[in-house]
């Protein structure tokens, strides 16, 4: 019973990670650094609340979330692919932009500096076994399926084969008639959609938008991408592992085996360790960050 509750809680925490990390894998696999995940998630969260509030339905919220995600991703693609601006700088700027913009429009739309009014989500929250009901939320299913589906897309379809080739050796793909720029654009846009859905889940689950509510989750998703070595199923496992650690920390709050701050650090520390290659080096796609 406790185990089931633990599992459900873990999944609930993991959904935004899974969706955003799927976006991260997609983007980095085509060679574009996914530093903008945080911003895309936050934009998605805001879009979801805006749509739900004014449209009166969580589904309209989802549509708005995706629209915002696509807008943010297009901006990133415009700067990095069309104008070949540095991907690191653009990624960071996108995050700052979305933080500022959501605050601005929070005041504009809801006249508040901190949070939106309550919106209806997809329903089905609660504690203990009540959490079961959250599976009526379509985003839960989508989140659980996102990385397996991405694996299927990348390893079982022509699009995926080309995407992997473009992220690894674009000039080779180009000599075979693959349109590198168009493929990268699609990868980045898909990343925007997935990450914004991750943000939408977060906001709808909490029934409101609060300032900077993603709180670094985009970077945890990025950590999962790196720790999972850009392989969708490993990345999914990394997301679930990070979420499980968080759940454990929440459930053991009274006991204090380790200070809770240190549990939060697990994803970041593991990522640094993975990059340093202490145990099996994490090697990114060869063309990551390079647009010639």
């Amino acid at each position: 019973m406790i185990l089931l509750a633990f599992l459900l809680q873990t999944i609930r925490i993991a959904i935004p990670y899974l969706l955003a990390a799927a976006g991260g894998v997609m983007s980095e696999r085509v060679g574009v650094i996914a530093l903008g995940l945080e911003g895309m998630m936050l934009g998605g969260a805001f879009g979801a609340v805006l749509g739900s509030y004014y449209g009166g339905s969580a589904w309209i919220g989802l549509v708005c979330a995706v629209a915002v995600g696509l807008f943010v991703a297009s901006l990133l693609a415009l700067c990095t692919l069309r104008f070949r601006a540095d991907q690191v700088v653009v990624g960071i700027a996108i995050n700052l932009l979305v933080i500022g913009a959501t605050r601005f429009f929070l005041r504009l739309a809801f006249d508040s500096a901190s949070n939106s009014p309550r919106v209806d989500g997809f329903g089905g929250e609660g504690s203990g076994l009540g959490v079961m009901a959250s599976f009526s939320n379509p985003l839960v299913l989508l989140g659980l399926l996102s990385l397996p589906a991405l694996w299927w897309l990348l390893w079982r379809t022509p699009f995926g084969l080309r995407a992997r080739a473009v992220g690894e050796k674009p000039e080779a793909a180009a000599t075979l008639g693959v349109h590198v720029g168009a493929l990268r654009l699609r990868g980045v846009l898909l990343c925007g959609v997935l990450a914004s859905l991750g943000g939408a889940y977060l906001a709808l689950d909490q029934h409101q938008f609060t300032d900077s509510m993603t709180a670094g989750r985009g970077f945890i998703a990025l950590a999962a991408v790196i720790f999972g070595r850009w392989m969708p199923l490993r990345v999914a496992a990394a997301c679930l592992f990070f979420a499980a650690a968080e759940t454990l920390q929440i459930q053991l709050q009274g006991i204090q085996l380790v200070p809770s701050q240190f549990v939060e650090l697990i994803p970041y520390v593991l990522t640094i360790v993975a990059l340093a290659g202490v145990v099996g080096k994490s090697v990114p796609p060869a063309a990551l960050g390079k647009v010639e």
Partner: protein
């Protein structure tokens, strides 16, 4: 012997084809005829315009003038996809493979067999396997390209072209990275393709290969086609003569050759002594094999040879930029084998690197800053401050002495012409005390005036008792300057001779691996 040439239209007919890149005329009025079902060798020195010509044929670029026909059809100015559709495919000098994908995935990329939405992996593997079987280019379709040997990767490149239905194959220096047995295998495959009626154009500058594999030969020089031979009716000597050109025999005169013995000092330690040097290349293969030689004070020791035979690695090792497996390097009697770049420089080594844009200059640094690269520790005080006055004086002096134009030391190196950029490098390396100079491709890409100037500088250094190691792909240059000449082929010196005994015809066979006279 040679296959049918009488009936059908030529597989390829290029007439009066020209290609210009900005100020450079890479091809001028080239005529090339390749019969169906023949293996045609396109030979010539580096920069003769062979690759450019083939890029025009394969649709990678469009000609500035002339006409290209394939199987009787005018295809002038087509693009890659049109060329592929018409059965013309090119295997590039540098591998264009995605290392993280399997062989089959690399082959089908861009033309994937599908089953519904899905990639039909099984069919891709089966197709590739069948193709490999049929052509004798055996390689396991399910292996990752990263795990392949160079020879296997080469086969995948050829398969890639065949998979797209090519009947006219262009191979650009296909053996550059292959070992001798792998080369033999490649020949077997190419003969098999010819037997099936395919046409093959092979770019090379190795004459033994030309003789071994081709039916006909077109020789290019300076962007033009110089001669066409039927392989059966010619000799390597004729081909070499056409490649190098009679007229370059040559600017060196007997008088100065005779003066050699008196100028070269062999009493003291050698300026540069190399013993039993073995070096691994970037791909892990042995690129320099037990090499020993010395450069005496007052001597220019020239290394001739086709590029890619270990010259780059040799220079890197001598300069301290790459580690040797075995062997030692001495400068003026001092063992520098374990010293850093900087310590070697202080021990009397100067180095004009072969690629001045990558190594020799920091292009966004000013002329005065570039004039102290590698010597910066001699311009700094004990707390690390650079002595601006000293830098300025030094720069002004060098600019004057080496006639660098425009004489403005604050200009960035990027803004100078090629010749003046090279003069900056030369001023830095030769405008100071040194014992031995490594001069790699010292006149590449510079104008005629600068070439003369640079040659005079090298001779002056020699006359001043310095040891000069000259490495150049320009045989005429090596012949004109050197006291002794070594020909480097596959990591070894295949001959070392006084330059008075050398001329282009003589060295050609050594350079192309057709002859070998092992000297000490």
């Amino acid at each position: 012997m040679s296959t049918a040439t009488n009936t059908p239209p030529m597989a390829v007919r290029m007439s009066q084809v020209s290609k210009r890149f900005g100020a450079v005329q890479a091809n001028r009025d080239v005529t090339l005829e390749v019969a169906s079902g023949e293996i045609h060798a396109l030979v010539g020195e580096n920069g003769a315009g062979k690759s450019t010509l083939m890029h025009l044929l394969s649709g990678l670029s469009t000609p500035s003038g002339g006409r290209i026909e394939v199987l009787g059809r005018d295809v002038t100015g087509w693009d890659t996809n049109a060329a592929i559709d018409a059965g013309v495919g090119m295997v590039h000098q540098h591998f264009m493979l995605v290392p993280t994908l399997t062989v089959a995935e690399n082959l089908v990329l861009g033309r994937e067999p599908t089953r519904g939405l899905l990639l039909d992996d099984a069919r891709a593997v089966a197709d590739v396997r069948a193709l490999a079987e049929r052509t004798g280019l055996r390689v396991d379709p399910t292996r990752l390209v990263a795990a392949l040997s160079v020879g296997e990767a080469q086969r995948v490149e050829i398969l890639k072209v065949l998979y797209r239905g090519a009947r006219i194959l262009i191979l650009d220096e296909p053996t550059a990275v292959l070992s001798p047995p792998e080369v033999e295998e490649l020949w077997t495959v190419l003969r098999g393709l010819r037997a099936q009626g395919d046409t093959i154009i092979i770019i090379t500058h190795k004459l033994d290969e030309v003789v071994a594999i081709s039916d006909a030969i077109t020789v290019m020089r300076d962007g033009r086609n110089i001669a066409r031979f039927a392989t059966a009716d010619t000799t390597p000597r004729d081909i070499a003569r056409a490649m190098v050109g009679r007229d370059v025999v040559l600017a060196f005169d007997i008088k100065h050759a005779a003066a050699v013995s008196s100028r070269v000092r062999t009493d003291g330690p050698a300026a540069l002594a190399v013993r039993d040097l073995s070096v691994h290349g970037d791909r892990g293969t042995l690129v320099i094999d037990q090499l020993s030689f010395s450069v005496e004070p007052g001597e220019i020791f020239g290394i001739a040879g086709v590029e890619g035979n270990g010259q780059t690695e040799l220079l890197d090792v001598l300069a301290g930029l790459r580690r040797a497996e075995t062997g030692s390097v001495h400068i003026d009697g001092q063992d520098v084998s374990l010293l850093s770049v900087r310590a070697r420089s202080d021990a009397g080594l100067s180095h004009i690197p072969e690629d001045r844009h990558r190594r020799g200059l920091v292009l966004d640094y000013s002329v005065s800053e570039n004039l102290l690269l590698g010597r910066q520790h001699h311009f700094a005080s004990s707390i690390g401050t650079m002595d601006q006055d000293k830098i300025a004086r030094h720069a002004e002096l060098q600019v004057k002495m080496f006639d660098i134009r425009p004489p403005d030391v604050s200009l960035s190196a990027r803004a100078l012409s090629g010749g003046n950029q090279q003069k900056v490098v030369i001023a830095r390396e030769m405008g100071r005390a040194f014992t031995v100079l490594l001069a790699a491709q010292p006149t590449r890409g510079v104008d005629v005036g600068a070439i003369e100037f640079i040659h005079a500088q090298l001779r002056a250094a020699r006359d001043a008792g310095k040891g000069v190691l000259l490495v150049s792909a320009d045989l005429a240059e090596v012949l004109a300057l050197s006291d002794r000449i070594a020909v480097m082929y596959e990591g070894q010196f295949v001959c070392v001779l006084p330059s008075s005994e050398c001329n282009a015809e003589h060295l050609g066979p050594y350079m192309t691996g057709a002859a070998r006279a092992v000297a000490t």
